[in-house]
C-alpha cells in the first residue's frame, strides 16, 4: 500500500511540474509580485531593431514602468514565439492554428509589430491595435514586374498585383504575416519560395537583391524602411493584403495584463507620447495611415 501511495504522489508531482512549465497562469498580479515584465520580441523592422531599441521596446518599457516592475527583453523567433508565450508552439494550418509541442514559457507578452491574423487570435489575445499594416509586393528594380496604377479600391489594386505574378519567384515566410497561405498566393501561379524559419523579415529584401527571387512579400513598415535603406534598388509593385493591424499579443489566461496594457496604451495615445514614438521610428507612416494616428484613442 505504502508503495502505491508514493507512486501516486510522484505522479501528482510530475503533473504539477508539467502544468508549471506549460499552462502556468502568470497574470498581472503575479507579474507585479515577481517584479518583472518579460517582453518577448522578434527583431523586426523598427518595432524591435535587435539592438534593444525600437517602437515596441520603448512602448513596453513605458508599460513596465507604469506597472512599477522591471523591464526584461527576451529575444525570440517566429518559429518559437507562440511557444515562448503560451507554452505551446503553434503554426497555421489552413485558416486555423495547430498546436504543436509543449515548451517552457519564457515571456509575458509579445510586442514587435505582430499582425493580428485570424489564426493567431485562436492562440493568443491581442491588445487594441497599435499599428496599421498591410503586405505589399516588393520587387528588385530590374524585375519585369511593374508597379500598379492605384485605382482607389484596395481589392482592385491587389488584383492588379496578383495578375502579374504568374511564374514569377516570390519569397515568403511561413507562420508570419508574410505567410503565402494568408493571401491565397497559390492561385496566382507564382513560384512561391518559402524561406527558412530562422530568416528574419528584414532579411527578405537582401534576399531578393541577392537574386534569390524577383520579388518578396513584405509588410508595409518593413517596406518603408527598405525603401530608405536600398534607394533605387527595389520598387513597390502594390498591395497583396487587405488593410491589417498590429497589436501586442498576450496569453489567453492573462486578461488582467491585457486590460492593463489597453489602459496604458489609451493614455499614451491621448497624451501624445505614442505619436511621438511613432514619429521617431516611422515618420513616413503618417502619410499612409494618418487616420489611425489622428483618431481618438479607443
Amino acid at each position: 500500500m505504502a508503495h502505491h501511495f508514493f507512486f501516486r504522489l510522484l505522479l501528482l508531482f510530475l503533473i504539477f511540474a508539467m502544468l508549471g512549465s506549460t499552462g502556468w497562469t502568470h497574470d498581472l498580479a503575479d507579474i507585479k509580485k515577481a517584479g518583472v515584465l518579460r517582453h518577448l520580441a522578434i527583431p523586426y523592422a523598427n518595432f524591435y531593431t535587435g539592438r534593444e531599441d525600437g517602437l515596441d521596446v520603448e512602448m513596453i518599457k513605458g508599460f513596465a514602468e507604469a506597472l512599477g516592475v522591471r523591464y526584461k527583453l527576451i529575444e525570440t523567433s517566429w518559429k518559437d514565439v507562440f511557444g515562448d508565450l503560451t507554452g505551446h508552439n503553434a503554426r497555421r494550418e489552413g485558416k486555423n492554428a495547430k498546436l504543436l509541442d509543449k515548451v517552457p514559457v519564457r515571456g509575458d507578452l509579445v510586442a514587435n509589430g505582430m499582425t493580428i491574423l485570424g489564426w493567431r487570435t485562436q492562440v493568443v489575445n491581442f491588445s487594441e491595435p497599435t499599428f496599421p499594416s498591410g503586405v505589399w509586393l516588393i520587387a528588385r528594380a530590374d524585375s519585369p514586374l511593374t508597379p500598379i496604377t492605384p485605382t482607389g479600391k484596395l481589392k482592385e489594386d491587389i488584383k492588379q498585383v496578383k495578375t502579374q505574378l504568374h511564374n514569377h519567384g516570390v519569397l515568403a515566410l511561413a507562420n508570419t504575416c508574410l505567410d503565402p497561405g494568408l493571401y491565397n498566393m497559390n492561385a496566382t501561379g507564382a513560384d512561391i519560395r518559402l524561406q527558412p524559419k530562422e530568416r528574419k523579415l528584414n532579411e527578405m529584401v537582401p534576399a531578393i537583391l541577392n537574386n534569390d527571387a524577383d520579388s518578396t512579400l513584405l509588410d508595409v513598415p518593413d517596406a518603408l524602411i527598405a525603401l530608405e535603406r536600398w534607394p533605387g534598388q527595389i520598387k513597390v509593385i502594390g498591395p497583396i493584403s487587405d488593410a491589417q493591424l498590429m497589436g501586442v499579443a498576450f496569453r489567453k489566461d492573462t486578461p488582467k495584463l491585457r486590460e492593463a496594457f489597453n489602459t496604458y496604451f489609451k493614455r499614451i495615445r491621448t497624451d501624445g507620447t505614442y505619436n511621438r514614438l511613432v514619429k521617431k521610428y516611422y515618420p513616413a507612416v503618417f502619410r499612409y495611415s494618418a487616420d489611425f494616428f489622428t483618431q481618438p484613442a479607443q
Binding site: P147, D157, K235
Partner: protein, 1008 residues
C-alpha cells in the same frame, strides 16, 4: 662792401614780400588741399563701406546659390525620381520618398540661418509641371507661382524676383533638378529679404545713418533699402553722391547714396578767395624779380653748355679712335677722306694728314672704276644703307678684305658719306680654308659607295645626303626620312626614333642590317648609326650604310642550299617525315629532357600489316601514296612536340613525349589505331590497312636510344603475333629474365667447351641377387666459383635448347669413354645415360651413336639410354624407329620417370624399350602414401604384363627395398645403396658393398 650793396631795402622788401607771399600762398594751398583731401577721404570711406557691403551681400547670395545647387543633388531627390521612374505610385511607396525629401527640405530650412534669422521663409520641391510636390510650409501651395520648366528654367540656379502687390518684391532661388541629364523638377527657396538681407545691409553700415544702401534687381526693382525708397530724392545731387556696385554678373546692384556733410569742412570758400586776392601783388613783384634772375642764369648755362660740348667732342673723337672698326667720312664728290679715325690710320700705316689726302677708291679694288663709284654714290644717295665686302691691297701689296657699312649723311650743311669698315681678312681666310676642307670632304663622300645621310632628330628631316644616297633615293635633302627612306610609311616609323643611336655607354650603338625595297629589288645595307653635333650645336642622326646586297644574297643562297641538304639528311624524301637520323637525335634530346623534368616517353615502332600485298597488287606508286597518307594521319593525330619518323619500308617510329604511364599511352595508341584503320582513298580506290605497334616506355625501360628502339621493335613483333591491328608494350622484367637465362645458357655452353662438367655414377643393383647391374651417369658442373653444382641448377635452363644436344653428346662421349675404361679393366659395368627426346630425333643420331661405340670399341650392351616419356609424345614413330635401329647394336632403352606423366600403355606397346624406371617421387613415399604405393605396384604390374624390366629409383631405406622386392621389383638405385660418385670410386665401392640381409631374405621368401 659789395655784400652791403646787395642788402638794400628794396631787396629786403622784395625778400620780405617774397617770404610773405610764399607763406600766404602756402597757407591757402594747404587749406584748399586739406579741404579736397578731406572730401575725397569721406567719399572713399563711404565707397569702401558700400563695396565691402556689396562683397558681403554678394558672398551671401552666392553662398545661398551654391547651397541650393548642392541641395539639388541630394540623394533623397534622386531616390524619389528613381522610384517614380520605376513606376511606383504615390500611394504605394512613392510618398515615402517624398516625405524623405520634405525632411531634407526642413533640415535645410532650419540649418540656414543668418543673424539668428532663417535665410529662407519656405523651400518647395516643385514637379516638372509646376505643381508643388512638397514644401516646408504646408500653406505654400496656396502661393503657387508660375514656375514652369519650359521657358524660364535654364539648368542651374537663379535668383528670381516677383512683384508682391503689397510689400514690394519677393525673391526666390529657383534651382533645376537633374535626373539622368534631364531637368525633372525645381527647388524653390523663398529668401527672407526683410529679416535677413535688410539686417545684413544695416548691420555693417558703420552707424552712418545718413547713408542709404539698396539692393536692386534688374529693371531697377528695389528689393531692399535701408531707408524708405522715397527719401533718396529729397537731397540735391550736390548734397549726396550715388555709388552703384554690381554684384558679379548677376545683374543685381548694390546702390549706396552718400550725403555730403558741409560741417565736416574747416572753412568757407569766401575766406579762401579773400586771402588769395591779398597775396596777388606780392606774388607779382616776386615774379618780376625772378624773371631778371633767370636771364643771368641763362647766360651762365650757355657757357657751361659750350664747355661741355667741347668735352664731349674730345670724348667722342677718343671713342672713335679706340674703335676696332675703321671709320671714315668721305666726300661724295671726290671720294676723298674728310675724316678718319686712328684705327684706320693704323690699318693703312699712314698718319691722319697723309690719309686725308687719299681717296676711298684708291683703297678699293671693287670700287676702283668711276662707274662703280657712281653706282655706289647712286645707291647711297637713295638713302640706302650699303653693306658690302670688298678687297684691296695695303701699300706693301698685301691683300685685305674689308666689310663696309656706309650711309649718306648731311654733316654741317655738307654732303658726306659715313663709312665704317671692318677688317675681315682673317675671317675670309678661315672661310676659304673651311670651303676647301668641305670640298675635299664632299669629294670623299661623293666618291664612296656607302650611303651617308644626316637627319634632324626631332623633325626627321634629311639635312645632308651624299651622292650615293641621292643616286639611290633621289633628292633627299629637306624631306622627311619616311617619305623616301622608308617607303610606304605615312609618318615616323620605328626607325625614326633615335634611341638606337647611342648605347648605354654613350658610344655609337651596334651596327645592324637594314633591308630596303628598291623598286622590285630588295637591297640590304649594313648600317652604322650615331649622333654627331651639327652646325647649330644640336645632335643629329648620322647614318652610314654600306650596300651588302650581294653578300646577303650569297648567304641566302648558301642557307637555302644548307636547308636542302639538311632536308635530305634528316627527312624522308617520300613522306617528308623525320628519318632515322633525326629521330634518334630527337630521341636523345627527349631522353635528356625527360630526365631533367622527370617525365616519361613512349617510343613506338609501327608496322603496316600486309603492306607488301598492297605493293605487289597495286604497284609501288599506290604503296608510296599510302605511306604518305599514313604519315599525314600520324602527324595529325599527335602533338607538335611528338616526332613521327619513317623508319624504312612500311615501318614508322613514333616518339611521344610526356607520357606518365601505360594508361595514358593506351589512349594515344587507341586513337592512332582507330585513325589508321579508316579507309584510305588512293587513286580512286579505297584501301584499309591495319597496323601493329610495339611500344616501350621510358624510364620504366631505362635504356639508350638503340636499346629502346630494339625493345619497341621486339614488342611490335609480339603485337604481330598477337594477331595484328593491336599494340603491345615491351616488358622490361620479362626481357631481363630472358637475358639472364641466355647468359646462363652461354655459361653452360662455355662449361661444356672448357670441360667443367663432370660425370658421377650411381650404382644400380639387383636386390634379390645382391649384384651390381650397372650405374647411371649423372652430370655435375664443377663451377670455378660456386663449386660442384647439382644438375637441377643448370639442366632445366637448357631444356629444349640446342645446347641440350651438345650436352647429351658430351655425356654419351664421356660415358662411353668410361665404359671402355671399365671394360678394359675388367669391370663389366653397363652405364645408363639420360638422353633428351629431341637429341634422339636429330637426323643421323643412330649412325653417330654407333660410330661412337665403334670409336671406343665397346659393346652396345654396356650402354642404356633413358628417355623421358613426356619427350616422345609428338614424334612417337620417329623415336620408335631410331630406338629400333639402336637396339640392333645391343643398346637398351628405358622409359625414365614412368608414372609421372602420361603413363601411356601405347608408349609401352609401341616403343621397343626394355625397362620401366619408377620415378623416385613415388618410391620415397610409397610406405606412407597409399596412392604412391598403388602407382608403384601398378607400374611393376604393367612391366610384368609387358614383360619389361622394372627398376625403382630413390630407394633410400632398406624397408623400401624390402617392400619393392615383395612387390616384384628387384632392381633399384638410391642413397640406401649408394650416392652418385666419381668413376674412380666405383671400384672400391663394389668391393665393399653388401646387400642388406632383409632384401635377400625377402627375395628368398618371394621365391618360395
Amino acid at each position: 662792401m659789395h655784400q652791403s650793396t646787395f642788402l638794400t631795402r628794396s631787396n629786403a622788401i622784395r625778400l620780405g614780400g617774397l617770404l610773405l607771399g610764399g607763406y600766404i600762398s602756402l597757407l591757402i594751398g594747404l587749406v584748399y588741399l586739406g579741404q579736397i583731401h578731406l572730401r575725397q577721404s569721406l567719399f572713399e570711406q563711404a565707397k569702401l563701406t558700400i563695396e565691402k557691403q556689396a562683397s558681403a551681400v554678394n558672398y551671401f547670395l552666392s553662398e545661398q546659390q551654391d547651397e541650393i545647387k548642392e541641395f539639388t543633388k541630394n540623394p533623397a531627390l534622386n531616390n524619389f525620381f528613381a522610384n517614380r521612374a520605376m513606376g511606383m505610385s504615390m500611394k504605394y511607396g512613392l510618398r515615402a520618398s517624398l516625405l524623405t525629401v520634405q525632411n531634407e527640405l526642413k533640415r535645410l530650412l532650419n540649418r540656414k540661418k543668418l543673424l539668428g534669422q532663417p535665410v529662407y521663409t519656405a523651400i518647395s520641391f516643385v514637379d516638372r509641371d509646376g505643381s508643388i510636390l512638397v514644401s516646408t510650409k504646408e500653406t505654400e501651395k496656396q502661393k503657387v507661382r508660375s514656375f514652369h520648366l519650359d521657358g524660364d528654367s535654364a539648368p542651374g540656379v537663379s535668383l528670381r524676383i516677383f512683384d508682391n502687390k503689397k510689400l514690394g518684391y519677393d525673391a526666390y532661388y529657383v534651382a533645376t533638378i537633374d535626373y539622368h541629364n534631364q531637368v525633372t523638377g525645381l527647388i524653390i527657396a523663398e529668401v527672407n529679404l526683410a529679416k535677413v538681407v535688410l539686417p545684413l545691409l544695416q548691420h555693417s553700415e558703420n552707424n552712418r545713418v545718413d547713408n542709404t544702401l539698396m539692393l536692386i534687381a534688374p529693371h531697377d526693382k528695389i528689393l531692399v533699402s535701408t531707408a524708405p525708397v522715397s527719401d533718396p530724392n529729397s537731397f540735391s545731387t550736390r548734397q549726396q553722391t550715388t555709388l552703384s556696385v554690381p554684384l558679379d554678373d548677376s545683374g543685381y546692384i548694390l546702390k549706396g547714396i552718400i550725403r555730403n556733410n558741409q560741417q565736416m569742412l574747416l572753412t568757407s570758400p569766401w575766406f579762401l578767395a579773400a586771402i588769395a586776392l591779398l597775396s596777388l601783388p606780392v606774388v607779382g613783384g616776386l615774379f618780376l624779380l625772378l624773371r631778371l634772375n633767370n636771364n643771368h642764369l641763362l647766360l651762365q648755362a650757355k657757357y657751361l653748355a659750350s664747355q661741355q660740348q667741347e668735352q664731349e667732342l674730345r670724348y667722342f673723337r677718343r671713342l672713335l679712335d679706340l674703335s676696332t672698326d675703321l671709320i671714315a667720312v668721305i666726300d661724295p664728290s671726290t671720294s676723298r677722306y674728310l675724316d678718319v679715325n686712328q684705327t684706320m690710320c693704323t690699318f693703312f700705316s699712314l698718319d691722319r694728314e697723309q690719309l686725308l689726302k687719299k681717296k676711298f677708291i684708291d683703297h678699293s679694288d671693287t670700287y676702283r672704276t668711276i662707274e662703280q663709284w657712281r653706282l655706289f654714290l647712286k645707291q647711297i644717295r637713295k638713302n640706302e644703307r650699303i653693306t658690302d665686302e670688298y678687297n684691296g691691297q695695303h701699300p706693301d701689296g698685301s691683300p685685305f678684305f674689308i666689310e663696309i657699312n656706309a650711309h649718306y649723311a648731311q654733316l654741317d650743311d655738307r654732303e658726306a658719306i659715313v663709312a665704317i669698315f671692318r677688317d675681315i681678312s682673317e675671317r675670309k681666310r678661315s672661310e676659304q680654308v673651311i670651303q676647301q676642307a668641305n670640298q675635299r670632304v664632299n669629294a670623299v663622300l661623293a666618291g664612296i659607295d656607302a650611303i651617308v645621310y644626316v637627319m634632324d632628330m626631332e623633325t626627321h628631316t634629311i639635312l645632308y645626303a651624299n651622292t650615293a644616297a641621292t643616286t639611290l633615293y633621289g633628292d633627299l635633302v629637306g624631306k622627311t626620312c619616311w617619305q623616301h627612306l622608308h617607303s610606304g610609311q605615312t609618318g615616323p616609323c620605328s626607325f625614326c626614333p633615335n634611341d638606337k643611336l647611342l648605347g648605354d655607354d654613350g658610344k655609337p650603338a651596334e651596327t645592324y642590317i637594314w633591308e630596303f625595297q628598291h623598286g622590285e629589288n630588295n637591297l640590304w645595307f649594313h648600317s652604322a648609326d650615331c649622333a654627331i653635333p651639327w652646325d647649330d650645336g644640336r645632335y643629329v642622326h648620322l647614318q652610314v650604310a654600306t650596300d651588302i646586297t650581294a653578300r646577303i644574297q650569297n648567304e641566302q643562297a648558301l642557307q637555302d642550299a644548307h636547308s636542302q641538304l639538311e632536308a635530305l639528311a634528316y627527312y624522308d624524301p617520300l613522306t617528308r617525315l623525320a628519318n632515322r637520323r633525326l629521330f634518334i637525335d630527337r630521341l636523345q634530346h627527349a631522353l635528356h629532357k625527360a630526365d631533367r623534368i622527370n617525365s616519361g616517353l613512349a617510343i613506338c615502332y609501327l608496322d603496316l600489316d600486309e603492306f607488301k600485298q598492297i605493293n605487289d597488287t597495286y604497284g609501288h606508286e599506290a604503296g608510296d601514296d599510302l605511306l604518305v597518307q599514313v604519315g599525314e594521319r600520324l602527324l595529325n593525330n599527335l602533338r607538335g612536340e611528338d616526332t613521327v619518323a619513317r623508319w624504312g619500308g612500311d615501318e614508322f617510329a613514333l616518339l611521344i613525349t610526356n607520357q606518365k604511364d601505360e594508361e595514358q599511352c593506351v589512349e594515344t595508341l587507341s586513337r592512332l589505331l582507330d585513325c589508321l584503320t579508316t579507309p584510305y582513298e588512293i587513286r580512286s580506290t579505297l584501301f584499309q590497312v591495319t597496323t601493329s605497334v610495339g611500344v616501350t616506355l621510358y624510364p620504366k625501360d631505362n635504356g639508350d636510344p638503340e636499346t629502346l628502339l630494339r625493345h619497341a621493335d621486339q614488342a611490335m613483333y609480339l603485337a604481330k603475333q598477337k594477331g595484328r591491328n593491336c599494340y603491345h608494350f615491351f616488358d622490361p622484367e620479362q626481357d631481363r629474365r630472358i637475358n639472364m637465362r641466355l647468359e646462363q645458357i652461354n655459361c653452360i655452353g662455355k662449361a661444356i667447351k672448357q670441360d667443367e662438367l663432370r660425370l658421377f655414377y650411381q650404382p644400380k643393383i639387383d636386390m634379390a641377387r645382391g649384384r651390381v647391374m650397372g650405374a647411371e651417369a649423372l652430370v655435375r658442373w664443377q663451377h670455378p666459383e660456386e663449386g660442384l653444382l647439382p644438375p637441377v641448377r643448370f639442366l632445366p635452363l637448357i631444356e629444349g635448347h640446342r645446347l641440350q644436344l651438345s650436352l647429351d653428346w658430351w655425356v654419351l662421349d664421356k660415358a662411353m669413354q668410361q665404359a671402355s675404361f671399365w671394360q678394359t679393366n675388367g669391370e663389366e659395368l653397363s652405364i645408363s645415360v639420360n638422353i633428351a627426346a629431341q637429341t634422339i630425333q636429330q637426323p643421323g643420331f643412330a649412325d653417330r651413336l654407333i660410330e661412337l661405340l665403334a670409336d671406343y670399341g665397346i659393346d652396345g650392351g654396356l650402354i642404356e639410354l633413358e628417355i623421358l616419356e613426356s619427350g616422345i609424345i609428338d614424334e612417337l614413330d620417329t623415336i620408335s624407329s631410331v630406338i629400333r635401329q639402336c637396339v640392333e647394336t645391343g643398346i637398351s632403352f628405358a622409359l625414365d620417370d614412368y608414372g609421372t606423366g602420361f603413363s601411356s600403355l601405347t608408349h609401352i606397346r609401341r616403343l621397343p624399350v626394355q625397362t620401366l624406371k619408377i620415378d623416385q617421387s613415388f618410391v620415397r613415399e610409397m610406405l606412407d602414401n597409399r596412392d604412391d604405393f598403388h602407382i608403384v605396384e601398378g607400374v611393376i604390374g604393367l612391366a610384368r604384363a609387358f614383360e619389361l624390366e622394372v627398376i625403382a629409383e630413390g630407394v633410400e631405406t632398406t624397408k623400401l627395398g624390402t617392400q619393392l622386392l615383395k612387390l616384384g621389383c628387384n632392381y633399384a638405385q638410391g642413397y640406401c645403396i649408394a650416392k652418385p660418385m666419381p668413376s674412380s670410386e666405383i671400384t672400391d665401392w663394389r668391393k665393399q658393398y653388401k646387400v642388406p640381409e632383409e632384401w635377400l631374405k625377402a627375395a628368398a621368401e618371394k621365391t618360395v
